[in-house]
């Protein structure tokens, strides 16, 4: 069965490059480049693999800012067929994000599955899968490490603490994936060049009346570690053994 797939893509500041001010602990967010969130790449890869196996179409949606074009082009190069950027993202507010994205998905119509990361690396809320499944009235298959489709049912494997499970549900489904699901492809140069010429649909998000929490502070936790570094192994071992013995008493 040809599958009509929506993949949700998030663009975040490259948190690996993010530093915090050594004195105030404030995150130094200026001039940090943006990148596609890793789990979004896993989601794109999962969506494209599903299409390659079953036929169908992959539509990418980014709720972000004007700077999201580069992310969508990267998604195109990986195999996304059509892309929508909705601008107006103001920050982490899962309820607002879910309402904007679910409206877009309803507008697209006839969607068989929505694939997204289970918990994004920056804000780490993990709420979107549950929110979207309720707003779109779709079955939720959460934390997939593999996805397959057969006769209108989606089947996933998920890894829980105490067991692995294979679960399935009738379409349409919201499917969240974990980073272990695949190794996202590095697209060949020709595809990257073709992606650059492909049009991107853009629209602005409507204003939503959503309350947001008041931020009291957002700073790096203080680290009071001693940071005694030994390059002389024997000296280091003696010091460490002393410290461990002290704690074992």
């Amino acid at each position: 069965m040809a599958i009509n797939i929506v993949v949700l893509i998030k663009q975040i500041v490259d948190i690996d490059q993010l530093k915090t001010d050594p004195n105030s602990g404030e995150p130094l967010i200026q001039n940090i480049p943006l990148r596609i969130e890793n789990l979004s790449k896993n989601s794109i890869e999962a969506a494209v693999q599903l299409k390659e196996k079953n036929g169908g179409k992959v539509t990418g949606i980014i709720f972000g800012t004007e700077k999201a074009n580069s992310a969508m082009k990267e998604a195109y190069a990986m195999g996304v067929d059509e892309g929508f950027i909705i601008t107006g993202y103001k920050g982490n507010n899962p309820a607002y994000t879910a309402s904007i994205i679910s409206n877009k998905i309803k507008e697209l119509g006839n969607v068989d599955c929505v694939i997204l990361g289970n918990q994004s690396a920056d804000s780490y809320t993990g709420l979107l899968p549950g929110l979207l499944s309720t707003e779109l009235n779709m079955n939720l298959l959460g934390n997939a490490v593999s996805i397959s489709e057969e006769g209108g049912r989606f089947k996933i494997k998920r890894v829980l603490d105490e067991k692995d499970e294979i679960i399935s549900a009738e379409k349409p489904c919201v499917i969240s994936v974990t980073q272990e699901i695949n190794q996202p492809r590095l697209p060949p140069v020709l595809q990257i060049m073709a992606a650059g010429r492909k049009p991107i649909n853009a629209s602005a998000a409507g204003a939503g009346n959503f309350e947001t929490p008041k931020i009291v502070s957002n700073i790096a936790p203080k680290s009071d570690r001693k940071r005694q570094l030994f390059e002389d192994m024997d000296k280091g071992v003696a010091e460490v053994a002393k410290a461990i013995r002290g704690e074992m008493k």
């Binding site: 993010l18 915090t20 995150p27 899962p94 309820a95 879910a98 289970n118 920056d122 780490y124 809320t125 993990g126 709420l127 979107l128 899968p129 549950g130 929110l131 979207l132 499944s133 309720t134 707003e135 079955n139 939720l140 959460g142 934390n143 089947k155 998920r158 603490d161 105490e162 067991k163 692995d164 499970e165 294979i166 679960i167 399935s168 549900a169 272990e180 309350e211 947001t212 929490p213 008041k214 931020i215 009291v216 957002n218 700073i219 790096a220 936790p221 570690r225 940071r227 570094l229 030994f230 390059e231 192994m233 024997d234 280091g236 071992v237 460490v240 410290a243 461990i244 013995r245 704690e247």
Partner: protein
């Protein structure tokens, strides 16, 4: 005030109940068979849900208990818990705070703390949030006298089918309560190298734990031993990091440790910024030396 706590693991209800019970009536919801773990923590009533728990049917069962009756709903964070929290958020239209590791009730509001930017910062927020997911192990449970009554409730049949279940080998280890942890990262190179680490684990009477790649990608250790933002948050007296580079994701899981010791070949490894004692060198040379030093 009236509070509701949900966790599919009864023991995760106890700490949150301890934190809340002086501020009002606390109710718990868990899965049948788990209720006995949370009956001595001052809860007014515990509901035990009978049936196979999935996101959709747990959400329906919670709605039957009537979520509008409660001032705040706390959900212990887990894959199931987060799915349910999203569903509740959509139905009751409230701010939801996720992955809180600390909170304080401030009149009508709640002040919460959670990690942000992948663990690089702590975000402290104040809001009217009605739904809060809480990281397991955030609050110390304390027993009180008396026994909580249990009400059984049926779970509807989920629209999600369980086609196959593979039980995992479990060592029954509990790295969260170990006083000393020896934690391994990619730097140990291969699974067989764990044999060379075990003498140290035994010498310090500790437990073995590991980073996300070691537990999830390479599966050298089972997931119950994973330390990190997405794994267990540990607070041992001594945390010994062997061949762990110190990605922020990992640091966020062991930041509460009293003393941190790191061994790494790379002098610039970020773990050395987060340790009390660091040894630059080959861990396979350091470990035997450390074992014999500890035996002296």
């Amino acid at each position: 005030m009236k509070f509701l706590i949900f966790s599919e693991d009864g023991s995760n209800i106890c700490g949150i109940a301890t934190k809340l019970r002086d501020n009002g009536e606390v109710y718990g919801v868990t899965i049948e068979g788990e209720e006995s773990k949370c009956l001595q923590y001052g809860l007014k009533e515990v509901y035990a849900l009978k049936g196979r728990p999935m996101g959709d049917n747990c959400f329906k069962a919670l709605n039957k208990i009537d979520l509008t009756n409660f001032d705040r709903i706390f959900i212990s964070s887990s894959p199931l818990g987060r799915d349910i929290a999203g569903m509740i958020a959509s139905s009751i239209r409230s701010i939801v705070i996720t992955e809180a590791f600390d909170f304080h009730l401030e009149g009508e509001n709640i002040r919460t703390k959670r990690f942000f930017f992948g663990g690089k910062t702590i975000l402290e927020e104040e809001s009217s949030a009605k739904v809060i997911t809480v990281q397991p192990g955030s609050f110390e449970p304390e027993k009180v006298d008396g026994n909580t009554p249990v009400t059984m409730a049926d779970l509807e049949v989920s629209s999600i089918t369980l086609d196959q279940e593979v039980e995992k080998e479990r060592s029954g280890t509990d790295i969260e309560s170990a006083p000393i942890l020896v934690s391994i990262g990619r730097g140990i190179g291969k699974k067989e190298a764990i044999d060379q680490i075990m003498p140290l684990v035994e010498a310090v009477h500790g437990e073995l734990s590991g980073s996300r790649p070691v537990c999830l990608d390479y599966k050298w250790l089972t997931e119950e031993r994973q330390v990190g933002l997405s794994g267990k948050k540990v607070k041992p007296r001594v945390y010994i990091a062997l061949g762990i580079s110190g990605q922020i994701q990992h640091i966020a899981g062991m930041r509460g440790s009293k003393t941190v010791i790191a061994v790494n070949k790379d002098k610039d490894a970020p773990i050395f910024q987060e340790c009390d004692y660091g040894i630059v060198g080959d861990l396979f040379q350091v470990v035997p030396k450390l074992v014999s030093a500890l035996k002296q």
